[in-house]
Structure formats: structure tokens, C-alpha cells
Symmetry: C2
Subunit: 411 residues, 2 copies
């Protein structure tokens, strides 16, 4: 068994569950005989390159610290968007990184992040192999977008979905109180895949209420058909609620914001693109003329830890610990995955996959999860994602607000 110290970093956009995975990695390292010290790198690989690291053995002191960390949203170690150069193009970066590894006796490298982060994992692994430096390198995915291939779903997706479904249900209640015709458009994150927008449909199979329509980027968006859909719904009841992905595009691949807004200018006279929801709001106002508003769920989708899925947080912890276990058993250069072993009852196992088979691909919502008209999702789809929002992760309330766990760089 390879013995030495470990380093862990976080990279890419924050999620509600990325600190649970961090807690899982740290816990795994604490419990492993192979790992002496586990360091946290602040702002991912940037902290490794400029020496901003923290000895996590001195920071996480109790079971309560683990629990608090796992319930804290966003990357407690900070994040970065740095992509490493191709090997051979700028080896100075790699030399600096590996000098840092040697100086700190680091032989385990754990990186929690999105597609770019898995690219870093693959490159660090390849460079180590080419230069005979023994280090086990494991990637753990995180993204609310759920668009990574090779895994049943991504850590972070379940909590984002729980927040979206809960908020959608509350918006539906709010919008139902008046008798005046009104359209409410809820814009949900997702540039390339509609997985998060799908979650807006969950109240339908759980509580029998749902938005009238759900539009995903997987289907070309047709504004005329959309207006017809809205008119049809308004004939049935006065309060129409619609969920849309931010990444809606027309048949030519143009984002709704672009294709609808050629004439819009901002306060300084610059060409101005508003979001998908706002664009559709203006179109409904112009073409139908009823009361209309748009709501962007925005950042809260990825950081609303007060409404996290217990399943997601527990799985995120589990997959972090499994990454350490795999690495100490000799696995390297892989990305951790979830394999769904049963749907009823729902069970999942932590597995791993080759990064090359995964990188630079987007897993879209499959065709059978979308209705024929392309304006809603199927029950099959909702049943598939339902277990991911199951259970409520513990929140440590104090004086009315959640307590969080900060890991500050102290120099």
C-alpha cells in the first residue's frame, strides 16, 4: 500500500453537496492507514501552485465538524476555473505542481469538480505516469446539472432538484390565489441539458400539482407553438405556470434570448440580452397581453443547503470516502460514479469509470423522458429522479439561521 500525504481540492461552480463530498474524502483519509496528513488546497489547483494549503487534520476535530461541513453550501476550500495546459505545452506548471507534491510528500490527489476538473485529474495522472512519480489521482464529480455521462446521476443534482421542486410547489400555491388571468414563467438553470428543469415536474407525481408546461433545451423551442400552448392553458384555468430551461434554443440553435431580442438595448444604449424567462415574459405580454411575470431561481438552486436532499448529501459523503478507499487500493486516474443497482427499492453503489470515456460529453434528458408535444416530461422521467430528492438533510439551526463550517486560509 502506497503511504504518504494526500491533498484535496474543489473546482468549478459550487453546489449544495460539494462539501459533503469533501467531508467524505477527509473522513476516508482520516480512517485510512495509507494516508498520514490530508491537506486542503484553497481554490483548487491554484492553491497547490501557490502554496495556499491547510492541514485538515488540524481543522476537522469532531464528528460535529464533519456534519457541519457536509451541511455547508458552496466550496468550503474555495474554487477555481483553471484548466491545466496540454502536457508538453507548458510543463513549467506541472513541474511546479509536482515539486509541491514532493515537498509535501503527497501521494494521493483528490479533485472534486465538473468536466474541467476531470480533465485536470486525467492530466495529473498522465504526467505522473510519464515522470515516474507515484501518486494516486481520483476525481469525484459534482454538478447540479446532472449532465455527466457514465454515472446514474451527479452528486449535487438531488439537492438542487429538491429545492427546485419545493420552490415550484410553493410558487404554484402562490399563483393559484387570484381569479385574474396570469402567466408565471419560472426560469431554471441548465444551458445544455434540461435535468434541473425536469425537477419542476416532481410535485405532479408527489402531490398532484404541477406547472402547465415544461420546456427543455433537448427540444427545439418554437415561439409560435409556445404562444399557442399558453393560450390553450389560459382557456382551462386563470393561473398558468411554466417552467423553462435557461438554455432554450430555436431550431437554428439560437438561444431564445438571442433570437427574440435583436432590438433590445440597455440603459447605456448597448445591445442587451435578457434571460430566457424575461424574454418569454415580454413575448407573452406582447402577443397575449395578460398579466405575466418571470422568476429566475438563480444561484439558490446550487446553494440552498437549508433544503438539501438527505439522499444526495449521504451519497456525496459516501462517494468521497469511496474515492479514498479506491485510491488506497491502487486505483488511479479515474472518476467516481454512481451505478443504480435497483430502482424499487432505490439502491446505488459507488463505482468508477475511465475519464477519457466521459470527458467532453453532455448527457441529455433522454427522448423517452419527454412527452410527444415536447412541452412536458413523462411520469417515467419523474419516477426516475424522485428517489434523488428523498429525505431532508439535517440543518444545524442557531438563532433562526443555519450554522456553516468555514475553512479559511490562515497562511
Amino acid at each position: 500500500m502506497l503511504k504518504g500525504n494526500a491533498i484535496v481540492g474543489q473546482s468549478g461552480g459550487p453546489t449544495t453537496a460539494i462539501n459533503a463530498t469533501l467531508a467524505g474524502v477527509i473522513k476516508g483519509a482520516f480512517e485510512s492507514e495509507a494516508i498520514d496528513i490530508i491537506y486542503g488546497a484553497h481554490n483548487g489547483v491554484e492553491g497547490m501552485l501557490d502554496g495556499r494549503i491547510t492541514n485538515l487534520n488540524e481543522v476537522i476535530k469532531s464528528e460535529m465538524d464533519f456534519k457541519l461541513l457536509a451541511s455547508t453550501p458552496a466550496a468550503a476550500l474555495g474554487s477555481c476555473r483553471r484548466k491545466l495546459p496540454k502536457m508538453g505545452e507548458d510543463d513549467a506548471v506541472y513541474e511546479k505542481l509536482f515539486d509541491f507534491f514532493k515537498a509535501n510528500n503527497i501521494h494521493y490527489f483528490f479533485y472534486i469538480g465538473g468536466n474541467d476538473s476531470m480533465d485536470t485529474v486525467a492530466k495529473v495522472s498522465a504526467y505522473a505516469e510519464a515522470h515516474n512519480y507515484e501518486i494516486k489521482v481520483m476525481g469525484v464529480p459534482k454538478t447540479i446539472d446532472n449532465d455527466v455521462v457514465g454515472t446514474d446521476h451527479t452528486p449535487g443534482y438531488g439537492s438542487a432538484s429538491k429545492y427546485i421542486a419545493t420552490s415550484m410547489q410553493e410558487i404554484l400555491r402562490d399563483c393559484a390565489v387570484y381569479t385574474v388571468k396570469a402567466v408565471t414563467i419560472v426560469e431554471i438553470m441548465g444551458r445544455d441539458a434540461g435535468w434541473l428543469t425536469v425537477a419542476a415536474g416532481l410535485p405532479r407525481i408527489i402531490n398532484g400539482i404541477g406547472p402547465d408546461y415544461i420546456y427543455l433545451p433537448e427540444r427545439a423551442f418554437d415561439i409560435d407553438k409556445f404562444i399557442e400552448d399558453v393560450k390553450t392553458a389560459l382557456e382551462k384555468h386563470p393561473n398558468v405556470v411554466i417552467a423553462v430551461s435557461e438554455g432554450l434554443r430555436d431550431a437554428d440553435g439560437k438561444y431564445v434570448g438571442e433570437s427574440a431580442q435583436s432590438g433590445a438595448t440597455d440603459v447605456f444604449g448597448h445591445k442587451y440580452l435578457s434571460g430566457t424567462g424575461k424574454s418569454l415574459e415580454l413575448i407573452v405580454k406582447e402577443k397575449i397581453g395578460c398579466k405575466v411575470r418571470s422568476i429566475e431561481l438563480n444561484l439558490l438552486q446550487r446553494c440552498a443547503a437549508h433544503c438539501a436532499s438527505k439522499t444526495d448529501i449521504e451519497e456525496s459523503l459516501m462517494v468521497g470516502a469511496a474515492a479514498v478507499k479506491n485510491a488506497t487500493e491502487g486505483i488511479s486516474g479515474k472518476m467516481m460514479c454512481f451505478t443504480r443497482t435497483s430502482s424499487n427499492p432505490y439502491t446505488v453503489e459507488a463505482t468508477y469509470a475511465d475519464i477519457e470515456k466521459i470527458a467532453n460529453q453532455v448527457r441529455e434528458v433522454p427522448a423517452e423522458f419527454i412527452n410527444e408535444a415536447g412541452n412536458n416530461v413523462t411520469d417515467e422521467c419523474l419516477e426516475y429522479i424522485k428517489p434523488l430528492i428523498s429525505g431532508e438533510s439535517e440543518v444545524f439551526w442557531k438563532d433562526g439561521l443555519p450554522s456553516h463550517f468555514a475553512i479559511n486560509y490562515l497562511g
Copy 2:
């Protein structure tokens, strides 16, 4: 003791706590010997005028029904924005209303709503007195805005504040992960008073983190000073977070959206006013040029029942029941209020006040609650509102989502 049936209605914008007050009124009626049947009017006074009422004794069957109702956001009976005419102007409306009362033996009238609803309470009370119809009429305020005079705070404000403070804390965590200079502007509800925006400051006294600045409509907003404030903050740290009220106005009383956006046009070439947050986003982009985004907390502020304040929900129940008790003891034509009897420990009592002394006034955030520079709130202010977000109201989760209680009109 006056005996007969009662009617209860909800009016104005929904809140997270308005159904808790409804549950309190129903419970009070069930327990009162004076009241036989309590009817719910759908869409407030509109349902009384067109006969859409439900016998609530047949709908609320158990303690669990009360609990579910109290944890359901938005008006379960539906709402309206109807204002009654001045007495003598269109008495046909009053005649119809009082015919309805007589036909259904209604001698108790409870109305849960905002300023317009209290106006309805005053008018119904005055008409009854002038026409010798014996009915006890009580108003119970609800508004997330907390801008009603005569009461320490309004039912609904505590839950909205808890959601805003919790979300702000999560946004602060999310925004802290990168090292690149960025400004995040969070727009919070409140046209005339800054009470909701104030709540964004609560994480500061509870967990030691808070937005850099908080701008309220109580102080004239100066764009140049704002840009200087932002620059000052960016010199100290890269992630600047700012809370603003939607109702920010300049010294001439013009909304920020109006004064900043004379040149903006929408996709159809129409003059276009975006919200305060979006306007400030465009201004920061133009004048400072760093990464900037704006977030509107939007509808969730008034309907996020999954994050309701236990104090608020319990007080809302309590004040609803107290309205019934007062009415059956002979009080009429009043609005229920909260009187804070002690700040440490926090205790509150249900009282009542004359509507004429309250109507058409806005209670602003007092000067001593705002710092001298006018760009933040004082600790004294935050300590004052802190007890209102205390405790977490029970949520009845099922399959990952909250269960709600619907009262549908069945005809």
C-alpha cells in the same frame, strides 16, 4: 353573547403565514360556544358576494388538518384585491353582502389581509352599525412588508425574513469561492419600506457574515455614492455582495429603474424598465467593469413555507384565535396587533387597535436602525428583528416534498 355563524376570508398578496392565521381563526371558532358554523369565503369578499363559500367544519377534521393548513403557503381560500365602495356611493354591494349574511345567519366576520382589507373591515363594521345588523367584524393583518403601524410587527414578516436571511447567507457562501473580483446585487421586496431588506443583515449578528452594503428606500439613493461604496469594498475583498430594496428612489423620488433607464427598450422597441437590481447591475458593469450579476429573490420571499419561522407561524395562529375570542367578547371593527411586552426574553401579546388610526399609513424603518452613511443597518435593528425568525416551523415532508392543505371550492 352574540350567537350565530361566522365567515372568514383572505385578501391581498399571499404570505407564508396567512394560512396559519386562518387556522387560528377556524380553531378559535370551533372552540367558541358563540359560533355554530364557520364558513370560508373563496377569494375574500368576492366569494361572499357570489356565494362561493365552504363550510369549514366539514373540511378541517383533525389536529393534523390544522397543522397542515398552518404550514401551507399562500391563501388557501384564495384572495382578491377588491375594495368596497364608500358607504352611500354604491350601497347595492353592501345590500348584497348583508343579504348574504342574513341568509346564512352570519354574525361574525373575520378578514385576514393588508391595508385594503382593513378598509373593508372598517366599512362593513360601519354599514352594520348604520343599518342595525348585529355582526362582530375583526381584521387580522398579514403582510411580509411589516409596514403596518400600530403593531410591533406583522404576521408573515418573520417567515419572509427567515427565508431572506437564510438565502442571503447561502448566497454569501456561494459568492465567496472565487478569487476574481465580482459584485452580486440581491434585490429584495419592499416598495415603500425596507423591513424585508433589513433581514439580509441578520447573518452578520448571528454568524459573523453579511452583505457589504444594505440600501433601503428610507434613504435617498445616490448612484455616484453607490459606485464609490462598491469600489471601496472591492479594494478590501474580491466578492462584494449588496442587498437592495426594490423600492430604492433617488432624492427626487424617482425609482432607480426609472432614473437610470431612460434609454432602455425591450425586444419590441417599447420603453423598458427593469428591476432595481438589474438596473444597478448594468450600472456597475458600465462604471466599474468587473463581473457583476443581480438576483431577485422574487415570489419565494412570500411563499417559502419550507423555511418558515416557528415564532411567526405560532404567533399567526395565536392572533387568529385571539381575533375570535375578542369578537365573541363583543369587540368589533378593530384590527388585531402584536404588542411586544419584553425584548429580552422576547414576549408578545395579541392586542387590537382602531383601524382609523392605522389605515393609509406606512411604518418605515426608523432612523436609528440605519447607519449614518445610509448604506447598512445597525446592530440594534438586527437585534430587534432577530426573535421574529426564531425556530423552524414543522414541515410535513412526503417523498421529498412538503405536503400542503388545499381548500377547493366544490360548489
